[in-house]
């Protein structure tokens, strides 16, 4: 049986759009916070039973139309030999950041099945536990976003060091981006083979680059990713990318993930024939329930029922009331 999400991604006629929430398998769920206290972050990710349990939580609690595998984009630097630690409240740390060509040369790319096999295991287990009731989405970070963390060694407001790495050491940057891109393609294919019905690529820090730098450095890598994975349903989410969603859509047969910075109606006008996913501002889930309902219905009207996946325009905020998220999901599921 083909699921609603897959129908929307293929462009089939559907009675209503499917709905899920970015970061739905996360901190806003009380049950997740219990596990958070018991197991370190990367233990939760690397233990298929835990990752699967967390991935299924929002299906049970909210009734979303898709599970996204519980993981983190930073498993890729780690797999390449650039270790990552995660301390509560402090965000990620990469104690050996990449700053020179020599640093890049020390990295080693192994087949994803070898270095990231635990993600396959978690996807397989999740699919089996869900009995195919809802599909599983896999994901990875885009090469630029991964480079950001690898160069800076931690989060940053403006990613100055990462941008300077492109300008000051273009050869090393290019080699690093190629390495990440190869690893990402291999990793996404592995997730698909393990049972992910679709994969989403998150360029969380796309907005740090000017349109011309993004065009020069990143669009060729996107082209490579999209053409290498032409047989896999792919959602491209380049948050705040200044090249614009029409340029993202021109990459090919991909679904375009929208952030909340664009009006949904305008997005649909700019990208009429691709599947669009998004884009309620996460903070709207703090409005009263009536406002949430009205805004969600307006969103469906603006994107249209067909070729649409309803979602937030960014990850759900950890402080979001579960009830509000349920109102959002139910409004889409009851839409006629």
């Amino acid at each position: 049986m083909i699921t609603l999400l897959e129908q929307a991604l293929q462009g089939n006629i559907v009675p209503r759009p499917p709905v899920w929430i970015m970061r739905q398998a996360g901190r806003f769920l009380p049950k997740y916070r219990e596990l958070q206290e018991r197991y370190p972050f990367f233990t939760r990710i690397r233990t298929p039973e835990l990752a699967s349990q967390i991935s299924r939580m929002p299906v049970d609690v909210l009734g979303v139309d898709a599970a996204i595998i519980f993981s983190d984009i930073l498993v890729v630097p780690d797999a390449l030999g650039c270790p990552v630690t995660m301390e509560a409240g402090a965000g990620p740390r990469l104690p050996h950041p990449i700053r020179t060509m020599h640093d890049v040369e020390q990295l080693v790319r192994l087949p994803a099945a070898e270095s990231l096999g635990y993600v396959s295991d978690a996807i397989r287990l999740t699919r089996s536990e869900l009995s195919d009731s809802v599909p599983v989405i896999g994901f990875a970070g885009a090469p630029w976003t991964i480079l950001c963390y690898m160069v800076e060694g931690k989060g940053s407001k403006d990613w100055e060091l990462a941008k300077r790495f492109l300008l000051e050491q273009p050869q090393a940057a290019s080699r690093l981006l190629d390495l990440i891109t190869d690893q990402t393609i291999d990793y996404l294919r592995m997730q698909h083979q393990a049972g992910a019905s679709a994969v989403q690529v998150f360029d969380s820090w796309a907005a740090a680059l000017s349109p011309s730098m993004y065009q020069t450095w990143m669009m060729p890598l996107w082209t490579r990713i999209v053409s290498s994975l032409a047989d896999i349903p792919l959602i491209v989410y380049a948050r705040g990318a200044h090249v614009g969603i029409d340029n993202i859509a021109s990459l090919g047969s991909v679904a375009v993930g929208l952030d909340w910075s664009i009006e949904a109606a305008q997005a649909r006008m700019l990208v009429p024939s691709h599947t669009l996913q998004g884009n309620l501002d996460p903070v709207m889930l703090f409005a009263d329930h009536d406002t949430i309902r009205k805004t969600t219905i307006q969103l469906i009207h603006d994107l249209g029922v067909q070729r649409t996946i309803i979602n937030l325009g960014h990850g759900i905020l950890p402080t979001t009331p579960v009830d509000a998220a349920r109102v959002f999901i139910d409004t889409v599921k009851n839409y006629t």
Copy 2:
């Protein structure tokens, strides 16, 4: 004698565009860092001799076409009775943030001449010391950006509390925004009367709001600011505002400050008949000098010589080499 900056703001024919740099009176200058070690932040701002000395530094060191008064947007919350402290490396702190209608009601608006007179003094002194060789620019934060700090009490990645304040307590938010707007208009007029040839309003955190929230909440305030100050040359810099620069330009006879997220040629196409200011990505000053020269000349071509003020698209980075900033300035000054 009318200065090049004023000519460009009035739309007069000029031989080349004027140039200055956002945050030019700041941390990237070695002489500023000396003063930074000797006097606390708000002492530097509140002592007209120091503020004037710092404001004039980039005129001496770089030869910019305008001085911007050394100050901070957070003098406004402070003047309203919401104190601000600034600790090196930690950013601003507002120990009594505004979270309720009761908090808003405790604020008191005094005439700017009374609560912010030290800025007048600094502007007068700076003009006198500069002997009118270059003009002085005054500035303030936009109401949304000021509200952000007053509600959060410090910097934030996504300004969640400030956004929730609009959604959860719209009456209190509206009252606070009105109060800030009134104070800001009074404050900008005072700066003009003290000798500022133009004033710039910085909406540094405009990008935190969706297009529809910005349209609903902020555009009416912008309209009020622009119409109240119709006789004063005004530069509107709404960084990353998702309503778009064409909407900003439609506010009236204002110059539009561009951030680096838009291609200059596209900006000029969208806003053909207003003065535009911007928009080199600050990180470009880390490229080699030849690249800086070429990129700057391309920027002049893209924006056009007339109705253009060359600037960066965001504040200069503290780590920028002074030589690189000088190459940028000289390229514009030598443009024929």
